[in-house]
């Protein structure tokens, strides 16, 4: 049966409903860009006499153990966390996808060995690998980004390899060869673009993990160190005070983490729908 076909300039049909899943991510990005400028108070300004005050009109999220405004710190951390996540994921997605796609395309012995390499990488508990890498590279934002990129590489390698290998000899790919596209172009112009929908989902999931990874490392005292505001650092600082009743110190940074990961998932789903040619009518 033919579905009703409607042509629309943007293909997916622009409406509030299709824009909705993107709003949380857009808000997050806006906060990251504006970031520290929006903070009502200096995130690093200590005022010990104001330590651990509950949320109030002056301090929306309360204050931390050194009297710093928690709201400002959470806000300021947005930029750093998003930068780390996007940096790590774009590095591992690019390298992993290209390598995996090439491997799946070429096949043969190279591909078999690549498969074994991926299996070895994935046999390690990845967080432990990240720990080891950061410990070796030293505590800095850069080392967190590298470590996160490395441990996420296998996912893209495997994904790209499997997808490309399964489509390498599909009829529509053979048709491209008949149309005069050499092997390199078949891989780059035909097969790689077909990976977009799957990649979009993987990237959105990955962004969430990457943030959690960075936050986890900071929580353990590696990577980003206080006083730099970063959600993991904030959770770490606040976690010590939960039992004594100062619930706000850990809750708000935790909520920020949650909000970020949720908005990535929403956007990832919406992105996949956008990139799927079948959704266009």
């Amino acid at each position: 049966m033919n579905a009703r076909t409607e042509t629309s300039p943007t293909g997916a049909g622009f409406s509030l409903r299709t824009a909705l899943p993107w709003l949380p991510l857009a808000a997050l990005l806006a906060l990251a860009v504006a970031g520290p400028a929006l903070a009502p108070q200096d995130p690093l300004h200590t005022a010990v006499e104001q330590a651990l005050r509950p949320p109030s009109a002056r301090h929306w999220f309360g204050t931390d153990v050194l009297g710093r405004d928690l709201f400002s710190r959470v806000l300021a951390a947005t930029r750093l966390d998003l930068l780390m996540a996007f940096g790590a994921v774009s590095a591992s997605a690019t390298v992993g996808t290209l390598l995996g796609a090439a491997s799946g395309f070429v096949g043969g012995r190279l591909d078999r060995w690549m498969g074994r390499l991926v299996d070895v990488l994935m046999a390690f508990p990845l967080f432990v690998v990240a720990l080891a890498l950061v410990a070796a590279l030293g505590n800095s934002v850069g080392s967190v980004v590298w470590a996160t990129a490395v441990i996420n590489l296998p996912f893209y390698l495997r994904l790209a390899r499997a997808e490309v290998a399964s489509r390498r000899d599909a009829a529509w790919v053979q048709a491209a060869r008949l149309a005069g596209l050499g092997e390199a172009r078949v891989l780059l112009q035909v097969l790689l673009p077909s990976l977009w929908p799957v990649l979009a989902v993987q990237v959105s999931l990955n962004l969430g993990w990457a943030i959690l990874n960075g936050a986890g490392l900071s929580f353990l005292g590696l990577g980003v160190r206080p006083p730099t505001p970063e959600w993991g650092v904030l959770v770490s600082e606040g976690a010590q005070h939960i039992l004594s009743g100062q619930w706000w110190a850990a809750l708000f940074p935790g909520l920020a983490l949650f909000a970020a990961i949720f908005s990535f998932s929403l956007a990832g789903d919406a992105c996949r729908d956008l990139l799927d040619p079948r959704q266009r009518s």
């Binding site: 049966m1 033919n2 579905a3 009703r4």
Partner: protein, 344 residues
């Protein structure tokens, strides 16, 4: 006079399958369409199948033939809605049957064979066990009994080396063998009505012929009625005593097979015939019909959905679905009839 494999049963007893003015549509996908009435995919369809008879349901892909079969089996997708009419099997009204009644029907009265045989079988279970599952679902049988009956069924459908095949998985069998297994599964119901939805699609020519011969033999031996859905007129002629021709969800012609094919009344049937290869006709002697099935989602669909492709279209074809000629209040399948304004 005719070389039909089964002459019409007479006198016509009460029909095994009786479809009367049945309309089926799909629920609106978008809220925006909620205001408009649901356009029927199948519109006011009436046909009968007598016990032991083979009725061919003929028409292009997308004309609603499979949908009708699913309705008879109670397997309509959740978005489908019965918009009107009645559907009866062996006198039992199916439209308000309970799930328990459906289960009884599908265990003892109705069976269906599908287009893609390999996909209709469980890929991770040997076919012998799938047959035993089917047998044991309708009667308490010991494992030995079920195994023996499964073997007997495989031999009935002419699978060679049957004992070895019992342990085979669907992917180890050819398409033709998978279809035979599906037939065996259907036969395990000892059905009174078998629905076959394009059972030979994708099979080799020699296999197609063998499967259809098998179907005919089994139907004869068991006095089993068959509804054979196909878009292939030649196949319909060879294996059916009666035909019903559907276009875009509307029944346009029905009657005994050789009458419908040799003296087609409806322009659509004539068009199908003119496009079907025959011995003695060259490529230039055949004719394709212009256009294709109309988009059923349109708001401006003509009353007779063939109007836009019809060489004999009139103005009233747009506004009113034609009356049947010859008229009959309760038409029997022995009557060759068509719905076309050009006949009036």
């Amino acid at each position: 006079m005719s070389a039909n494999p089964h002459p019409p049963i007479s006198p016509p007893a009460s029909p095994l399958l009786e479809v009367r003015d049945l309309s089926i549509g799909f629920a609106a996908a978008q809220a925006a369409q909620a205001g408009r009435p649901v356009l029927p995919t199948i519109e006011r369809l009436s046909l009968h199948v007598q016990p032991g008879q083979t009725l061919g349901l003929v028409g292009e892909s997308g004309s609603g033939k499979s949908l009708l079969a699913l309705a008879v089996m109670g397997l309509l997708p959740p978005t489908a809605r019965i918009l009107g009419g009645s559907l009866q099997v062996a006198g039992q009204n199916l439209l308000n049957a309970t799930p328990g009644q459906w289960q009884q029907l599908r265990r003892h009265t109705l069976a269906m064979v599908f287009q893609n045989p390999r996909q209709a079988l469980n890929p991770v279970r040997p076919i012998g066990l799938q047959l035993q599952d089917a047998l044991q679902s309708r009667a308490p049988l010991s494992r030995a009994q079920a195994q023996a009956q499964a073997l007997a069924l495989l031999e009935q459908v002419e699978i060679d080396q049957a004992p070895a095949r019992l342990k085979a998985y669907p992917h180890e069998l050819s398409g033709g063998m998978c279809q035979r297994v599906l037939l065996a599964l259907a036969l395990s119901r000892e059905p009174r009505l078998l629905l076959a939805d394009e059972p030979t699609t994708g099979l080799d020519i020699t296999t197609q012929a063998a499967i259809l011969k098998l179907l005919t033999r089994l139907a004869n031996e068991r006095h089993m009625a068959t509804l054979l859905i196909t878009h292939n007129l030649t196949m319909a002629r060879q294996h059916c005593s009666h035909l019903a021709v559907m276009h875009a969800g509307q029944l346009v012609e029905a009657g005994p097979a050789d009458q419908v094919l040799q003296q087609p009344l409806h322009p659509y049937t004539r068009g199908l015939r003119a496009a079907t290869p025959q011995r003695g006709l060259a490529l230039a002697d055949l004719q394709a019909m212009p256009g294709g099935l109309p988009d059923l989602g349109r708001a401006d669909l003509p009353a007779c959905r063939f109007a836009e492709r019809c060489p004999q279209v009139q103005t009233r074809c747009d506004t009113q679905f034609p009356e049947w000629r010859p008229q009959a209040s309760a038409p029997s399948e022995a009557l060759h009839r068509a719905a076309c304004w050009s006949l009036i």
